[in-house]
C-alpha cells in the first residue's frame, strides 16, 4: 500500500508538472536569440541600439532591429514591441561599439550591465568599430552567410590574427578595474563589402584614446606573454640597394620582466626570447653561410628591439599601459595600489629591452 501511494505521488509529480502553465518555457521558434549587439553614439544620454538575430537559412540571413534609447534594457523592451518574437540575450556573442561611443567613456556602463546579467556568458567579445555598428550590421555581404556568422568566424582565434586581443566581457571588466592595466579591444573597419580587423583600440581608463596597428597589437601580445604569434614581415634595411625583407613565423616566445622594485626611480628589464622559422627571405645574404645567418639573426634581433622600444615610448607618451608593466612594481609594494601609482611608475620608468632571437629553420631549400 505504501509503495502504491509513493508510486502514485511520484508519477503525479513527474508527469503532471508538465501541465503547469507557469512552467511552460518559450519554445525555440518563439524566441529571437540576439547574437550581435551594436551600440552607436548619439549624444551623452542616448545611444543607437542595434540587435542582429540569425535566421534559419530558409527565411534569410540575418534580421536586425534598431532603436534609440538611454539604457540597454530600455532599448530591448522598445525593440520587443517591433519584433515578432521574444528578444533574448542568452545567445549573445559579440558587442560592437562605435568609436565615438568608446571615446565617450560610457562603454563601462554598458559592459557592467552585461557582466551583471547572469544569462549572458563570459565569452562575449567587446569590439570597437570605426564608423557605425548599425551600418556594419545592416550592410549586405555578398558571398557571406550573413553578418552574424561572418563576424563570429572573423573573430574566432586563428593563427594569422593572433595580434587580436579577443577582449571578452571579463577581460574588459578585469582590465578596467585592475589599476595596473589598461584595456585593449579588437578594432574593426567596414571596407566596401568586407569587414577587416585593422588594429587594436587602446583605452586609457574608461575612454578609448587611439588605435594601434596590427604590428603593435602583436608586440603587445608578445609582451603579455603570448606563446604563438603570426608570421611577421621584417624589413631589415630601409635603403633600396641593401634592402632585405624577411618573413618570420614566431613559433615560440617568452617574456621575462625584472624590476628594481623602486617606484620612485623605476627601472624595468624586459627580456624577450623569440624562436622563429624563416618563411621568406629577399636579400643578398647566403643563408647557408653561418656568418650571414648569424648576421641576419642579429638584424632581426635589432629590429625587434627597436620596435619594442618604440612601442613602449609610444605607450608612455599616450600614458597608457595595456601590458600591465607596473604589475612588476605592484607585487613588491605594500599598501593599496592605485591608478596614480601606475601613472607615476609608467611615466618615470626606464625600460631596458633585451631581445634574444633564434632562427630555427629556413625552409627546405638552401
Amino acid at each position: 500500500m505504501r509503495r502504491f501511494v509513493f508510486l502514485t505521488v511520484f508519477l503525479c509529480l513527474v508527469f503532471v508538472s508538465g501541465c503547469s502553465g507557469e512552467l511552460k518555457p518559450s519554445s525555440v521558434e518563439d524566441v529571437a536569440l540576439v547574437n550581435v549587439l551594436g551600440i552607436d553614439y548619439i549624444d551623452d544620454n542616448r545611444m543607437q541600439l542595434t540587435l542582429a538575430v540569425p535566421q534559419p537559412s530558409v527565411v534569410g540571413p540575418t534580421q536586425t532591429y534598431s532603436t534609440e534609447s538611454s539604457l540597454i534594457k530600455e532599448g530591448i523592451v522598445a525593440i520587443s514591441s517591433q519584433a515578432d518574437k521574444e528578444i533574448k540575450l542568452n545567445g549573445l556573442r559579440i558587442v560592437l561599439i562605435d568609436e565615438e561611443f568608446a571615446q565617450s567613456g560610457k562603454l563601462w556602463d554598458v559592459v557592467e550591465h552585461l557582466y551583471r546579467n547572469p544569462v549572458i556568458g563570459g565569452k562575449v567579445l567587446i569590439v570597437v568599430v570605426k564608423e557605425s555598428a548599425k551600418d556594419m550590421l545592416e550592410q549586405e555581404y555578398p558571398g557571406k552567410a550573413g553578418i552574424v556568422t561572418y563576424l563570429n568566424d572573423l573573430l574566432k582565434p586563428k593563427p594569422h590574427n593572433m595580434f587580436n586581443p579577443y577582449t571578452s566581457i571579463h577581460d574588459f571588466i578585469y582590465t578596467q578595474t585592475n589599476p595596473v592595466m589598461d584595456t585593449v579591444t579588437p578594432y574593426l573597419e567596414l571596407k566596401e563589402e568586407k569587414v577587416e580587423i585593422t588594429g587594436v583600440a587602446l583605452f586609457k581608463e574608461k575612454r578609448a584614446i587611439g588605435v594601434l596597428n596590427r604590428e603593435q597589437g602583436q608586440l603587445i601580445k608578445i609582451l603579455q606573454g603570448a606563446k604563438r604569434l603570426p608570421a611577421t614581415t621584417i624589413t631589415v634595411n630601409e635603403e633600396i640597394q641593401t634592402r632585405e625583407q624577411v618573413v618570420v613565423d614566431f613559433v615560440d616566445s617568452d617574456v621575462h620582466f625584472k624590476s628594481n622594485k623602486d617606484i620612485n626611480n623605476p627601472v624595468l628589464d624586459i627580456t624577450l626570447k623569440l624562436k622563429g622559422t624563416l618563411y621568406e627571405y629577399q636579400g643578398d645574404k647566403d643563408l647557408s653561410n653561418s656568418d650571414d645567418f648569424a648576421q641576419l639573426e642579429k638584424e632581426i634581433r635589432d629590429f625587434m628591439h627597436s620596435e619594442v622600444t618604440a612601442l613602449l615610448a609610444d605607450l608612455k607618451e599616450k600614458n597608457t599601459d595595456p601590458v600591465g608593466l607596473s604589475e612588476n612594481f605592484r607585487k613588491y609594494h605594500h599598501g593599496r595600489w592605485s591608478e596614480e601609482l601606475t601613472d607615476k611608475v609608467t611615466q618615470n620608468a626606464e625600460y631596458r629591452v633585451h631581445v634574444k632571437m633564434q632562427v630555427l629553420a629556413t625552409g627546405t631549400i638552401r
Binding site: 509529480l13 508538472s17 503547469s20 507557469e22 512552467l23 518555457p25 547572469p118 544569462v119 556568458g121 563570459g122 565569452k123 571579463h170 571588466i173 578585469y174 578595474t177 585592475n178 600591465g324 604589475e327 612588476n328 607585487k331 613588491y332 609594494h333 605594500h334 599598501g335 593599496r336
Partner: protein, 361 residues
C-alpha cells in the same frame, strides 16, 4: 542491515560527512567574503584549516568522555536538565535558521542563473522531497549521500584549469599586504564557510571506531581546505581586486571561463550540480536538528524530522524584509562561533563535575 545497531559509521563515512557538511553555499562566495584582504587572502583557508583542526580537539575530547551521548544529551547532563533543554532549544533554532539561510541563498542563485522566469516554490518542493528521503535513511544514508556528492561534484575542480591559464600568478604576492582590520573582517566573514565540522558533536555516538574519529574528521577538514585553497588561489589569479569585492559568486564567473567544444554555459551546469553539496550539508544539519528534537521530547520519532522540515519550509517562505534577513543570518555567525567554542565550557563543567565526584567518593 545495521539499522538497529547504534554504531554504523566507518572511517570513510566520517571523513566525507565532515567534509561535505562544511562545503555548501559558503564556497560559492568565499573569495568575495574575504575580499577585504584583497589579493593577500589566498592563504586564509590554510589558517582556517588550522583553527578548525585545533577547535576539533576539545570537541572530540568531550564527546569521547560520553561515547554514547550526543551534544544535546551532554548539555543536559552537564548544564542541568532545564538549562540544558533551553540551550538545546537555542541550538535547534540555530540549525533551522542555518538550513533556511543556505537554502534560501542557493534558491535565489538558482532563480537568477538557471530558472530566471519561474518561481522558486516548485524546485523548493522537489529539494525538500529529496532532502527528507536522504534524512529518512538516518545518518548512514546521509554519510553515503555525502560520499556520492563528493564524487559527483569534486571533479568540477578541473574546471579551474581555464581560469588558471587566463590568470596572473604574480597576484599572489605580496603575501602580507593588509591591515589588521582587513584581516579580521576577512577572517570573520570567511570562517563562515568553514563551519559544519561541529556536527561531529551530534553523530559521534554512531562512529564505529571512535578512537580514530579525530584523525578522520581532520582528513575531512583538510579536504575542504584543499578545495577552498584552490578556489581562492585561482580567484586571486583570475580577478582584479574590484571584481573580488563586487562579484557575488566568483565560482560562477570562473566556470564561465571554461571552453569546451561540446558544451556551453558550464556555469549553469556547475551551479545546478551544486545542489548535491547543498543537499548533503542541509541533510546533515536537518538530521542534527531532528536529533535535538528527539532529545527535547525524550523519544525518537520520525515525524520530528517532518516538523523540522515544515518549520524550515515556512521560514523560507515568510516574506521577511531583506534587511531583517541579512541581520538575522549575520547574527547566526555569533551562534556558530559560540557552538565551536562551547565544548571548552563543557570540558570545564565536566572537570568540575568529575572533581566533585572524586571528592565525594
Amino acid at each position: 542491515m545495521d539499522n538497529n545497531k547504534l554504531k554504523k559509521l566507518n572511517g570513510y563515512h566520517v571523513v566525507f560527512l565532515v567534509q561535505n557538511s562544511m562545503i555548501g553555499l559558503g564556497l560559492l562566495s568565499l573569495p568575495q567574503q574575504m575580499s577585504s584582504m584583497g589579493y593577500s587572502q589566498w592563504w586564509l583557508p590554510i589558517m582556517f584549516g588550522v583553527i578548525a583542526n585545533l577547535s576539533l580537539i576539545p570537541m572530540i575530547w568531550i564527546v569521547k568522555r560520553y561515547p554514547k551521548d550526543n551534544i544535546f544529551t551532554i548539555n543536559e547532563k552537564l548544564v542541568g536538565k532545564w538549562l540544558g533543554k533551553l540551550l538545546n532549544i537555542v541550538l535547534i533554532l540555530y540549525l533551522i535558521l542555518f538550513i533556511s539561510s543556505i537554502l534560501e541563498g542557493y534558491l535565489d542563485l538558482i532563480q537568477i542563473v538557471a530558472l530566471p522566469d519561474r518561481t522558486i516554490i516548485t524546485p523548493l518542493v522537489f529539494f525538500f522531497s529529496v532532502l527528507l528521503y536522504v534524512v529518512h535513511g538516518g545518518i548512514k544514508s546521509i554519510a553515503r549521500f555525502c560520499i556520492i556528492s563528493f564524487f559527483l561534484t569534486g571533479w568540477m575542480a578541473l574546471f579551474l584549469y581555464w581560469p588558471i591559464s587566463h590568470g596572473d600568478i604574480s597576484h599572489l604576492i605580496p603575501v602580507s599586504n593588509f591591515t589588521w582590520k582587513e584581516f579580521l573582517t576577512a577572517s570573520r566573514n570567511g570562517y563562515y564557510s568553514m563551519v559544519g565540522y561541529e556536527l561531529i558533536l551530534v553523530f559521534f555516538p554512531y562512529i564505529i571506531n571512535q578512537q580514530k574519529a579525530f584523525r578522520q574528521a581532520s582528513i575531512g577538514v583538510w579536504i575542504t581546505v584543499f578545495f577552498y585553497l584552490a578556489v581562492t588561489i585561482v580567484s586571486v589569479m583570475y580577478f582584479s581586486e574590484w571584481q573580488m569585492t563586487e562579484v557575488l559568486y566568483p565560482i560562477l564567473k570562473l566556470f564561465q571561463e571554461v571552453e569546451l567544444s561540446f558544451a556551453e554555459r558550464i556555469d549553469v551546469m556547475g551551479i545546478s550540480l551544486w545542489v548535491m553539496l547543498l543537499l548533503s550539508t542541509s541533510a546533515a544539519y536537518l538530521w542534527a536538528s531532528k536529533k535535538g528534537m528527539d532529545s527535547l521530547r525524550a523519544n525518537n520519532k520520525t515525524y520530528h524530522m517532518y516538523i523540522m522540515a515544515i518549520l524550515i519550509f515556512i521560514f523560507i517562505n515568510i516574506p521577511f524584509s531583506k534587511e531583517f534577513q541579512e541581520m538575522l543570518y549575520d547574527r547566526v555567525f555569533y551562534v556558530k562561533f559560540a557552538i565551536i567554542l562551547w565544548p571548552n565550557i563543557l570540558i570545564l563543567l565536566h572537570l568540575i563535575r568529575s572533581g566533585r565526584k572524586r571528592a565525594k567518593s
